[in-house]
């Protein structure tokens, strides 16, 4: 049963990561590869605070989220001020550079990883409670992003992606909007990281390397950018594939690269063959007629 719980939790967290990344890259049009590093920041912050500073786990988790948001602003504020084109470059440096810092610092456990992270809920309420928590967070995040995409905010994001200067010329602040979108997506990733850390109770810098960037990007691209269910389908599919691979009992030295090839190869194939992804985009700002609009809640 523990094996099944583990799979549910990991798939749920990847749905959260892919959905929040879809908010950034899809709806926000902000190209970054640094999503795993915010996952890592959430995980490490929560782990370090709760184990070494006696902070209650729930509080530490939220602190992880806050740190991820603050770090995201540190990335976006200086680079977006220059130009959106530089965000991708900066994000590569940010991802690799922060992992380098985590590896070199002492209190993070260095390259060996951080062990003995305090558990949450499981001792008092059993593993099922944690599964329920993760599922609840997953559903909440999917619905939240869906709500945002279909709200007036979504309309503004759509306009911003279309033409940033025209967007400014109708009085809208594109820069602030991008920082908010990136911050929200990163904060969600940070919270997912905290949830990961307190279940598996062991984290290493390696888990957040570029392989993860490729994996999350693949989930969004293969599933379908700018859709509610695309990242969900993508995350399910791309978590199922590596799980299936583990049954082949390949040595770890081969398994890693094969996963990497799978992720990157799928992105390449989809970019050329089916750029819209598995789930076709429901362009909410195109298909709505006035009648369906008034009948809709929000």
């Amino acid at each position: 049963m523990e094996y099944v719980y583990g799979i549910i939790i990991i798939v749920g967290l990847y749905v959260v990561l892919a959905t929040s990344f879809n908010l950034i890259i899809g709806y926000g049009g902000l190209v970054s590869i640094a999503h795993p590093v915010f996952f890592a920041l959430g995980a490490y912050t929560s782990a370090v605070l709760s184990r070494d500073f006696g902070v209650p786990v729930l509080l530490a988790m939220f602190a992880g989220m806050v740190v991820a948001v603050v770090a995201s602003v540190a990335l976006t504020l200086p680079t977006l001020r220059v130009s959106g084109d530089y965000l991708l470059i900066a994000s590569i440096g940010f991802q690799l550079g922060l992992l380098e810092v985590i590896k070199n610092l002492r209190f993070t456990g260095g390259p060996g990883g951080f062990t003995n992270i305090p558990p949450f809920l499981i001792r008092d309420f059993g593993r099922e409670s944690y599964v329920i928590l993760v599922l609840a967070v997953t559903i909440a995040v999917v619905l939240l992003v869906r709500l945002i995409a279909r709200s007036d905010y979504g309309r503004a994001m759509s306009a911003m992606r279309d033409d940033e200067q025209a967007f400014a010329s109708v009085g809208r602040d594109a820069m602030w909007m991008k920082i908010v979108i990136f911050g929200l997506g990163s904060g969600i990733a940070g919270f997912a990281g905290a949830l990961y850390a307190h279940y598996y109770r062991f984290i290493t810098p390696e888990q957040f390397e570029i392989l993860q960037s490729a994996a999350i990007l693949t989930m969004v691209v293969v599933g379908g950018v700018r859709t509610t269910w695309g990242p969900v389908v993508g995350a399910l599919l791309l978590q199922a594939l590596p799980q299936a691979l583990t049954f082949l009992h390949l040595p770890p030295s081969v398994l890693g690269p094969i996963q990497g090839l799978l992720f990157t190869g799928l992105v390449l194939v989809f970019m050329f063959v089916r750029p819209q992804g598995l789930v076709p985009a429901e362009n909410v700002w195109r298909d709505r007629t006035p009648r369906s609009r008034t009948g809709e809640g929000g």
Partner: protein, 315 residues
């Protein structure tokens, strides 16, 4: 604390090791200048170049020069394929710049994983040994690697600049960089020029990886950080300004190597990311020298995405 010999020694060694940085930065800057692409797939080409040389020497037991030729051929073929199969298709489809960014980055990662699968995750070198005999000049140790490295790099860069300045084809390449539409009017074949830029970049990168791989250990992921160094140098040098990229690469290379005097060695690698970040935040349009050179100014603004990218801005 630091005596003159040590400082001079470090300066010399840094200068010698800056050679491959110069080659990587020039290649990256050239492709960016001509095709307006941040070609992150350069890391893929770099990985292919190194492992081809490695296979030539270590698996096939070929002499160094033969492996070098093999590496050049394979690298150029890979660059050709990347341009013709990848970029041309994407250009035809008119995809967004961001789409191309992601494509090039994923190509690099794909090749890195392929290399990991075939060659494993431990460090490799072109020749079994990376220690070169040393001659003392004054009190400074000059290795047998240093002079050929500096000589071949200077020759390669000089050849590139001469090509762009004195040959018709080279001038076309600069023409396309400055104004693609105008170039089209004069009947310059853009496809050919883009391909040419990719091939030249491929050759520079191959030479650079050969130099790097004969002096340091290479992992499948190494090319990515080496390329980021080139990106930082390109940005600091000023986009569209090849000479600036060369100068920035030398300076950054020397700073990084000389930093061993003041910071712990495990933090040396981190310096690269600091460079990159500083470059983007403080010098997005390059270090502006007092004397303004504005031949490439328009290209710079275009890429930096400032307002002038719209056709109507000059009314």
């Amino acid at each position: 604390m630091f005596d003159a010999t040590i400082v001079l020694q470090i300066l010399w060694t840094s200068l010698a090791t800056a050679t491959y940085y110069v080659l990587f930065a020039t290649a990256f800057a050239l492709v960016l200048k001509v095709t307006r692409l941040f070609n992150f797939a350069q890391a893929a080409i770099m990985t292919i170049a190194f492992y081809t040389a490695f296979v030539g020497v270590q698996w096939l037991k070929w002499p160094g020069w033969a492996a070098f030729v093999l590496m050049m051929v394979v690298t150029l073929a890979a660059s050709y394929a990347l341009e013709r199969i990848g970029f041309e298709a994407l250009r035809r489809r008119g995809v967004s710049v961001m789409f191309v960014f992601v494509f090039t980055f994923i190509v690099s990662e794909f090749i890195a994983y392929l290399a990991m699968l075939i060659f494993g995750t431990w460090p490799q070198t072109v020749f079994p040994m990376i220690f070169w005999p040393v001659t003392l000049v004054g009190n400074i140790a000059i290795s047998a690697w240093d002079l050929p490295a500096i000589g071949s790099t200077v020759a390669a860069i000089a050849a590139l600049f001469a090509f762009m300045r004195f040959t018709r084809l080279g001038q076309f390449m600069v023409g396309v960089a400055d104004n693609p539409d105008l170039a089209e009017l004069y009947g310059i074949n853009r496809r050919l020029v883009f391909l040419l830029a990719m091939l030249i970049a491929g050759a520079l990168v191959a030479l650079g990886m050969f130099l790097y791989g004969t002096r340091a250990q290479v992992l499948p992921q190494t090319a990515l950080s080496l390329m980021l160094f080139a990106v930082a140098a390109t940005i600091i040098g000023g986009i569209g300004n090849l000479g600036g990229a060369v100068a920035a690469a030398v300076i950054l290379g020397v700073i990084q190597n000389a930093s061993i005097l003041v910071i712990p060695s495990e933090w040396q690698g981190f310096l690269l990311y600091v460079f990159l970040f500083l470059a983007i935040v403080f010098f997005p349009n390059g270090l502006r020298l007092p004397r303004r050179r504005e031949r490439f100014g328009s290209a710079t603004r275009k890429i930096a995405g400032e307002e002038a990218s719209t056709p109507e801005s000059r009314g």
